[in-house]
């Protein structure tokens, strides 16, 4: 991740201590939220495991020898959840899904691509969509399956697609 453009806050030691001053903390959390989302988008990750994240470079600046404590990580993640960018996978809050683009946006993007490829009225598997050769180079290539299904659901609601299941594998038909 050498090419990731870290914000200036990442090199600022107080960034790794949750600030008690409310105004300051607001700014700090804003910076954290955008950093986490940027980082996830950059590394194309959709989920985050809290225990793993503790030692990832996202929350641990080795050069500075500063790391965000577990409590602080939860503070940041909860802030993301409040903004609608995060959902916990379960109640234990051990891992979460990060949404740096809304499901509707994903759906739209996929639909536009399908239209451009004139694959209307054909059925394709979910695997094809995210891991097929055709979609290589597209932003949704390698998209998390849960996210993909949510995105296609939004299309389904607009009657632009239909999710189906055959022979144990899942597919989708676009209209």
């Amino acid at each position: 991740m050498a090419d990731f453009d870290w914000p200036w806050q990442y090199k600022f030691p107080p960034f790794f201590t949750i600030q008690p001053n409310i105004e300051t903390r607001k700014k700090q959390l804003e910076a954290w939220c955008s950093l986490v989302l940027e980082y996830q988008r950059h590394s194309k990750q959709y989920g985050l495991d809290v225990t793993e994240a503790q030692s990832s470079e996202l929350f641990y600046n080795k050069q500075l020898n500063r790391k965000l404590s577990l409590d602080a990580i939860y503070t940041v993640l909860e802030e993301l959840r409040k903004r609608g960018n995060l959902t916990w996978k379960d109640k234990t809050r051990k891992s979460c899904t990060l949404i740096w683009r809304t499901y509707a946006e994903w759906g739209k993007m996929i639909y536009n691509w399908v239209v451009a490829k004139s694959m209307m009225n054909t059925v394709c598997t979910l695997y094809e969509l995210t891991s097929g050769e055709d979609s290589e180079g597209q932003e949704f290539h390698g998209l998390d399956k849960d996210v993909l299904i949510q995105a296609l659901r939004t299309l389904e609601a607009e009657r632009k697609a239909e999710l189906m299941e055959f022979d144990g594998s899942e597919g989708v038909k676009f209209f």
Binding site: Q9, F12, T17, N21, T24, R66
Partner: protein, 392 residues
């Protein structure tokens, strides 16, 4: 049975429990009574019987009416019994369960054993007649003779129980009071001498003034400052200025007079602990209690004095010069932090010549106003310029 009377089960002040046994029934002569199953208690004064089911049902029999005791060993279907022979009833006794009885004895049936022990204790108590010795101890001196022949009368009186403990505590308190007042007698003399000492230091100060040439300037200044911070010649005390509010307001005035200058010299603030030490050093013998000092300081703002009490969020109390402006401190502190890049409270204390506690309070206050932000690590608390707010 008509010698029994109702009671609430509580003991007299000098009455003590000797023995108790459960599962005891009371017979009126040879007849059964409603008192079938209960606790029988032997005290120094009475026999008490308490119903096991209805604990409010208690009857008592004074030991003084007992004139004889017999044992009835247990049989095949009968439990062991104690026969208690009673003196004829005296008129005017408190109400009891039975107003008239044909028998002059009762029987205590021990259904859950324990009869032998109880019999022994009962016999002993009746023989000792402790109820007598105690009534004449606390009451009239007319009762005499017979009871003093036993061991109790010869030994120094031992008071058992709570009353005894209370009395011994009282005596001890009296003793300490006496000791304390004696000790303060000595201090008073010392205090009188202290007044002379203060006077002496004053005369030395004036003498030094006159002969300034003989000693170097530096030494004079130093010596004088020692003397000046030493004496309050007429300290405000409760004796001279009365009690309550007036005392505290006078005290507050004197403190403000004394402290305004040193506080301003030390950067506009002084912790209350420092104030306490300084003031008491100056007062010599008429020491102030921390509480009085605090009360006086609380009044300062109300009295419009040039210094006032301020308590930080962390609970640190300081005296602050009225002239010190909060915003100024904040901007000054953030400027220093900006210049140094980052600072701990120790470093700031060194830079500004403050105590560490005050330096920390300054940083925390500045942080509260958004001037700096913190970096908390295992090495300690470090403060940085607040780039969160200044940069975007």
């Amino acid at each position: 049975m008509d010698r029994f009377s109702w009671c609430d089960g509580s003991l007299f002040p000098d009455e003590h429990l000797v023995e108790q046994q459960g599962g005891v029934a009371v017979y009126d002569g040879h007849d059964k009574t409603p008192f079938i199953s209960g606790f029988l208690m032997l005290t120094t004064h009475r026999l008490l019987w308490r119903d096991q089911k209805n604990r409010n049902c208690v009857i008592s029999l004074p030991l003084s009416v007992i004139c004889g005791l017999d044992e009835q060993p247990s049989g095949f279907t009968k439990s062991a019994k104690i026969v208690v022979h009673l003196q004829p009833p005296t008129p005017g006794q408190p109400p009891g369960p039975v107003t008239h009885s044909a028998h002059n004895f009762i029987r205590l049936s021990f259904r859950e054993l324990g009869q032998q022990e109880f019999y022994r204790s009962l016999k002993e108590e009746v023989k000792k007649k402790r109820w007598e010795s105690q009534t004449h101890q606390s009451g009239s001196s007319s009762a005499s003779g017979s009871s003093s022949s036993n061991s109790q009368g010869l030994l120094p009186r031992q008071r058992p129980g709570i009353v005894g403990i209370e009395r011994s505590i009282q005596a001890k308190n009296k003793e300490t009071n006496k000791n304390i007042s004696q000790a303060f007698q000595d201090l008073k003399n010392l205090m009188e001498k202290a007044k002379d000492m203060v006077n002496l230091s004053k005369t030395i100060a004036t003498k030094i003034k006159e002969k300034q040439g003989d000693i170097t300037e530096d030494e004079t200044v130093k010596f004088k400052s020692y003397l000046l911070s030493m004496g309050i010649s007429n300290p405000v005390t409760r004796e001279t200025h009365g009690e309550g509010d007036k005392y505290y307001s006078e005290l507050a005035r004197q403190l403000a007079n004394l402290l305004t200058k040193p506080i301003e010299e030390s950067g506009g603030m002084m912790t209350l602990t420092d104030v306490y030490c300084r003031v008491n050093r100056a007062r010599g013998m008429e020491l102030l209690s921390p509480e009085d000092l605090l009360h006086a300081c609380e009044l300062m703002e109300f009295l419009g004095l040039p210094v006032r009490l301020r308590i930080f969020d962390s609970g640190v109390a300081v005296l602050q010069a009225q002239s010190q402006n909060e915003e100024e401190v904040v901007s000054k502190t953030s400027a220093v932090v900006e210049k140094q890049g980052n600072l701990t409270s120790e470093q700031l204390a060194q830079l500004l010549g403050l105590s560490v506690v005050l330096a920390k309070e300054r940083l925390l206050m500045t942080e509260k106003m958004g001037g700096v932000c913190r970096d908390e690590t295992v090495e300690g608390l470090n403060f940085f310029p607040n780039r969160f707010l200044t940069e975007t």
